[in-house]
Symmetry: none
Subunit: 208 residues, 2 copies
DNA sequence: GGGAATATTCCC
DNA sequence: GGGAATATTCCC
């Protein structure tokens, strides 16, 4: 059914959110999420009636009933690979949780049957770009000061600093513009003055 | 011929170079380079004798004679896509240069016919992980102060951010001072002008 | 050409 | 599960 769907879902229209600082919510969901959702809608029922992958009974998550067939048959129709582990890696990247030890079931609060629109609320876990390679970081908690106020509500230190810096740069640009205008006006005034000088050379030499 | 070669060239054994800081030379070349080299060895001669892609006559670079066929036939046998532009992007990442405006010819000092072993000397241009999003960077060099003591060893994210923040505030103060001086000078000039006006009211009314 | 986001791979 | 390198895409 979705034979030619693999190359669709180009995320055109992400442009506006991309360079907008703290994009609060992208206009369209990540391709990975759309493909995973669509792959479930399609169902993938086998000839014998068994399923390869499907929503769980409540529609609050999904189950890969046959990882082998899922990898060989389903994945390459939606992605550029047929590795179950790469699929899992993506699920983790987007914050899905494995919710059963007995079967391959995954859930995400915002990934629900019938709620394709909610996918926009699912974002990648952002690894904040650190200057230090992770293997040089101390694993102990001596850095606790940095993460002290733990509530995820308030913007963290980085974001606040970055936001202030962004504003400062904007302000700098405005000030530089002001200075340019100032200097331009100065030139005009000086021109004007020199014209006076020329015309009233003798009389006004010592006025200023 | 190379039907099943696509998934080979896994870079096992790169472990030792990976976590070693400035890995001086990886044990094996990047998959992209091996594939590109191999794809040239294979040749890709057409039925009619024309070539899709080949080494140049000196063996110092290669030419894609038919981008369309190269994209449709060659690329997907070695890579997970059939986009010429993605291939070009990779060439740029590894420092290849387009060496002709008339045909799709590319060269890299270390990419020579018969020298598969030299591929280990070709490395990705490393975007050194910058703390600041590029769209916040001033394009001019006014921030030179920030990278003054250039040794990349010290300073983490917070420190860099705070330092930039501090510098921005200092800069703001300087700009504000400049503006104040500018305005002060303007006032003087205007004063001066008005004195002229007063003194030569009748004569010079239309000079400016 | 290249920056940066997302995808895929590899390893811990 | 997740860090990090490489690959692919998208945009400037």
């Amino acid at each position: 059914m979705a034979e030619n769907m693999v190359e669709l879902n180009l995320d055109l229209g992400n442009f506006f959110s991309r360079h907008a600082g703290q994009s609060p919510r992208p206009r369209c969901p990540a391709p990975f999420l759309l493909k995973t959702y669509d792959l479930l809608e399609e169902g993938g029922a086998e000839e014998d009636g068994s399923k390869i992958v499907s929503w769980n009974s409540e529609g609050t998550g999904f189950v890969v009933w046959s990882p082998a067939e899922f990898s060989e048959l389903t994945l390459p129709r939606y992605f550029k690979h047929n590795n179950f582990s790469s699929f899992i890696r993506q699920l983790n990247t987007y914050g899905f949780k494995k919710t059963s030890s007995k079967r391959w079931e995954f859930q995400h609060e915002k990934f629900q049957r019938g709620c394709r629109h909610m996918l926009v609320d699912i974002t990648r876990k952002k690894r904040e770009p650190s200057v230090f390679p992770s293997y040089l970081k101390s694993s102990s908690e001596e850095n606790a000061t940095m993460t002290s106020n733990s509530t995820e509500e308030s913007k963290d230190y980085h974001e606040l600093l970055m936001e202030e810096n962004k504003n400062l740069k904007k302000e700098r640009l405005e000030l530089q513009t002001q200075i340019a205008e100032c200097k331009s006006l100065q030139m005009k005034l000086l021109d004007c003055l020199s014209q006076f000088m020329d015309k009233h050379q003798n009389k006004v030499r010592k006025t200023c």
